[in-house]
C-alpha cells in the first residue's frame, strides 16, 4: 500500500470524509425511527438491525499512551438490516496521534447472522468480518491475541507501512432476561498472511433505567437511557493461549436513545493491567433510518415507492 500524504489538504479531506459524509447521509433521509441500542462499544448482543433500516454511526476513542503520544481514533459505521436474520456493516477507520499525524487506517466489512428462528434463553449470532487495515489502526474495536499498549507507541510513519488483512470470527451468545441483556463474545482472528490464530473475548451486561414506557412523549424519560458495563481483552494466540502478555479493559457506559432516532453513547474505560492503556474515553453518535432499503431500491428501479 502506498503511504498517504500527510499534509494539510489531506487532513482537511480526511476530516471531511469522516464528519461530512455521515452528516450528509443523516440529513438526506428524513425517515428516522427510534432505535433501542445498548451502550456497548466493543461487545455485540444478538439484536440485529431491523430489515431495511440503515444506521449511520460515528464513534470516537481518546486513548492515553505511555511511552508515546496520546491518540484520538475514530470510525464511521454504516449498518444495514438486510433481513431480520442478517445485518451487514461497513466501517471506515482513522486516527490522529497527537504530535504525529492524522491518517486513514483502513476499512472493515462485517456481517452478523442469526441462525435460530425464535428467541431462546441464549441466542447465538455468527459474526464474520474482513479487515483491510494498516498497523496504525487504533480504534480498539476489539482486543485480541497479544495486543498491548506498547504496540501503539510506534510512530504512524512506521506502522502505516504494515498491511493487515484479517478474517475475524465471533460467536456471540446473548440473552435478554427481565429487562437485562447479558452477552458473551468469543473472538478468533486469522491474519491472511502466515500468522497464527489469535483469540479474544468481550462480555457485557446492560439494562434500561426504566422497564415501562411512559404514557407521554419525552426525551429524558428513564426508559430512553440504557446503562451497562463491558469487559474485554485478549487471550493470546494458538501457540501461547492464555492471559500472559495480554491487555484487558473494563468500561461503564450509558446510551441515550432519543425518539427522534438519534442515539448517544458514552463510555469511560480503564485498563486492567500494565499492558493496557490506562484510560480510554469512548463515545459515539448514531441515527437510524427506516425505509432506507426501499428508497435505494426505488433509485435503482428508476422510481420511488
Amino acid at each position: 500500500m502506498r503511504a498517504l500524504p500527510s499534509n494539510s489538504f489531506f487532513l482537511f479531506a480526511l476530516h471531511l470524509f469522516f464528519f461530512v459524509l455521515p452528516t450528509l447521509i443523516l440529513l438526506a433521509f428524513p425517515l428516522p425511527s427510534l432505535s433501542q441500542e445498548n451502550p456497548y462499544i466493543v461487545a455485540y448482543d444478538h439484536n440485529l438491525e431491523e430489515p431495511g433500516s440503515l444506521e449511520v454511526e460515528y464513534f470516537s476513542t481518546f486513548g492515553t499512551q505511555r511511552g508515546g503520544s496520546d491518540f484520538h481514533a475514530y470510525w464511521a459505521e454504516f449498518e444495514y438490516g438486510v433481513t431480520a436474520w442478517w445485518t451487514t456493516e461497513l466501517y471506515l477507520d482513522g486516527q490522529t496521534t497527537f504530535g504525529d499525524s492524522t491518517i486513514f487506517t483502513g476499512s472493515r466489512w462485517e456481517n452478523r447472522f442469526r441462525p435460530l428462528k425464535n428467541e431462546h434463553l441464549i441466542n447465538p449470532v455468527l459474526y464474520v468480518e474482513f479487515e483491510n487495515t494498516n498497523g496504525a489502526d487504533k480504534i480498539l474495536k476489539e482486543v485480541e491475541g497479544h495486543d498491548v499498549e506498547s504496540d501503539y507507541a510506534v510512530p504512524n510513519a512506521v506502522t502505516r507501512q504494515q498491511h493487515t488483512r484479517e478474517m475475524e470470527f465471533k460467536l456471540i451468545l446473548s440473552s435478554n432476561f427481565k429487562g437485562w441483556n447479558f452477552t458473551e463474545n468469543t473472538i478468533a482472528t486469522k491474519n491472511l498472511s502466515n500468522e497464527p490464530w489469535e483469540f479474544g473475548y468481550a462480555l457485557g451486561a446492560s439494562r434500561p433505567l426504566a422497564m415501562k414506557g411512559a404514557a407521554h412523549r419525552c426525551n429524558f424519560c428513564a426508559q430512553h437511557f440504557v446503562a451497562g458495563v463491558e469487559l474485554y481483552g485478549g487471550l493470546g494466540d494458538r501457540y501461547s493461549f492464555g492471559l500472559h502478555n495480554t491487555s484487558h479493559y473494563l468500561g461503564s457506559g450509558l446510551a441515550w436513545n432519543l425518539p427522534s432516532g438519534w442515539t448517544f453513547r458514552f463510555e469511560p474505560t480503564f485498563g486492567l493491567n500494565d499492558n493496557s492503556h490506562q484510560f480510554l474515553l469512548r463515545w459515539g453518535v448514531s441515527r437510524e433510518f427506516s425505509g432506507f432499503g426501499s428508497m435505494v431500491s426505488g433509485l435503482f428501479k428508476g422510481h420511488g415507492e
Binding site: V82, L90, W109, E119, N132, A214, F300
Partner: protein, 148 residues
C-alpha cells in the same frame, strides 16, 4: 490492491447488498397469511398467559407511543397495515389471546422480516399488547403488492 481501491470495492458491494437484498418489496398475500399463521404456532403456556398490565390505566397510551416509535413504519397507522407488513386489526390478531401476541412480539417472525422485539423490556411489550388489543378489529383487506 491499493487501499482506496479496496474501500471503493467494499462500498460498491455494500450498496449492492442494500439495493439487491433490501426488504423493500411488499409482502405477498401468502406471506401475510404466514405471518398470521405464526399466531397458531404459539406454545400452549403463552396462550393462557394474562397481560399483567391489563388493569394499568397508562398501558394503552404508553403502548400507543411505543407502537408509533417501533411498529408504525411497517404496520401502518393504528396497525391498519402497510406496504411492508400486514394489518394488526385483522380478526386473526384481534381474536388471539394477549399471550399469543406477546409471544410473536418477543420472537418475531425472522424468516418473514418481522424483527425480534425481545430487546424491549417485557413491560413495554405488554404495553404494546394492551394498545393492539385496544384498537379492536377493523375491516382490512389484504391487498396484493403494488405493481411497479
Amino acid at each position: 490492491m491499493k487501499l482506496y481501491q479496496f474501500v471503493i470495492a467494499i462500498a460498491l458491494l455494500f450498496t449492492g447488498v442494500v439495493a439487491a437484498a433490501g426488504p423493500q418489496e411488499s409482502p405477498k398475500q401468502s406471506e401475510r397469511e404466514s405471518v398470521y399463521a405464526e399466531l397458531k404456532k404459539v406454545p400452549e403456556k403463552y396462550l393462557g398467559k394474562a397481560n399483567p398490565l391489563a388493569n394499568d390505566a397508562d398501558a394503552v397510551a404508553a403502548g400507543g407511543i411505543l407502537f408509533e416509535e417501533h411498529c408504525e413504519e411497517c404496520h401502518g397507522k393504528e396497525g391498519m397495515g402497510g406496504k411492508k407488513a400486514p394489518s394488526l386489526r385483522a380478526e386473526e390478531v384481534q381474536a388471539s389471546p394477549p399471550g399469543a401476541i406477546f409471544w410473536v412480539l418477543s420472537n418475531g417472525v425472522v424468516r418473514k422480516k418481522m424483527p425480534v422485539w425481545s430487546k424491549l423490556p417485557e413491560p413495554e411489550r405488554w404495553q404494546l399488547v394492551s394498545y393492539l388489543k385496544s384498537l379492536g378489529a377493523a375491516a382490512t383487506e389484504s391487498k396484493p403488492p403494488a405493481k411497479p
